[in-house]
Amino acid sequence: MGLQHTPEGRPVALANPTSRPFFDAAREGRLVLQRCPRDGFFFYPRSHCPRCLGTDWSWEAASGRGTVHSFTIDRVGHAPGLGAEVPYAIAIVELEEGPRMTARLVDCDPDSVHVGQEVEARFEPLLDVAVVHFTPRA
């Protein structure tokens, strides 16, 4: 199993050596991304740049800002552990740095979410990792 669960039954990530720096930063409220010197930022954490397969990437701070590329409002709660929170919005966020990331949109009315909406990251530390959410920018 590559998941761990909170006492309430929410599935959260099981960090591994490659992804540990991402989650350590997220626990401190920082979004970090890997950047390849040739091909730029990529996400999710990988051992190799997915474009050139180089390994000379570095972890860099990201702005935590992005726009909603697409989204859905889950009204039945497909995800185990999230059933009590329906309806909730899940968005594919295009980060300012380029890569896309899927996250829940929190602290907002799901019915107000729209493509192109400007959002910023929020971090919820859970167990020894953190879940990254986004919320509309004021």
Partner: protein, 397 residues
Amino acid sequence: MGRRAAAIAGIAEWKAQRVWDRPMFMLEACAQLAQEALADAAIDKDAVDGLLLPPVWESPMFGPSAAAEYLGLAVNFAEVVDLGGATGAGMVWRAAAAIEVGACETCLVLCPTVPPPPQQGGDPAKMRMPAYLGGDAWGSPQGQFEIPAGMVAATPSFAQVAQRYRAVHGLREETLARIAVHERDNAQTNERAIFRGKPITVEDVLASRRVCDPLKLLEIVMPCFGGAALLVTSAERAAQGPHRPVFVSGFGERLTHKSITYAPDLLDNPIRAAAGRAFGMAGASREAIDLASIYDCYTITVLVTIENAGFCKPGQGQDFVDERDLRRDGDWPLNTHGGQLGAGQPGLAGGLAHVTEAARQLMGRAGEGQLRRCDLAYANGTGGMMAEQVALILEGA
């Protein structure tokens, strides 16, 4: 003219059922499907020298040899294919390619999806959908970055495609509903369809429960049990059989992503490349097809596939659908078996059903649902989150 080295010569397919009252191990179901496909093709079992099947539950490792042993086969080509909904279509071109290069001559393509007997009592027949779809393996990117965000199962992912479509092109919910309605109408002549006897209207679809915006319940397939199989053999052997041979005239396959989050483009799908290769190989035009057998786990899948397979330009799919009648008697017959939206989604057999229906139509064996003319068909499979894409051009001899 396309490839004519290999042809579909036999079909087996079980009626889709929500509750399966005769649990079978997967190897048992493979044996039953093999027996039926061979009988349909009137080919002796000893002629089989190729075997394609999905991952084998009773043998997570060494699946092909486990099946060869169980079925009593000696094969020169054996492969487990793992392409989700595109598995069936992916098996068909692999079989045809193996036959064309001489790796084998007669290949079984097996896609069973039935529940195994319970280990100790229990409820054998209830459908359980694995929400994580394998994404919870140790080290899985999905386990770390998708599942905790609630992006599980398939509907939230396809809803993202639909919502993106809405933002870029505008979405007419009536048009998507019409796809479901016409497919359901087609299911009314399919004795294997789970929704036979239950036609629906556009109003029904629009009024059905919102599941993941903008997708509503009647735009989503019903998971069920079933099984399907094909017998693919050389053109020479197929010509000796009881049915009109169905040539695998062209094929294409393309994969770029697993999670929809990382699709190069949510609307410009890998099906474009797969279909382009298939039509090019077959030397066929989009206008020439008599049947479009398009993978339809959701209505949006059909819309995006129509555009990406090149039947119209990006953004014009809704006009394309509105201007056409997609029913069996219509001017652009789509999924004459009812598709999975109308016939049910018996796991991987639901994907193969798009190929079995095309073969049945080309053989002239579709019964009540038979098209007046069917010589050329487009069939495709879509796996995962619009990820694995396989396109086939099938041609009657």
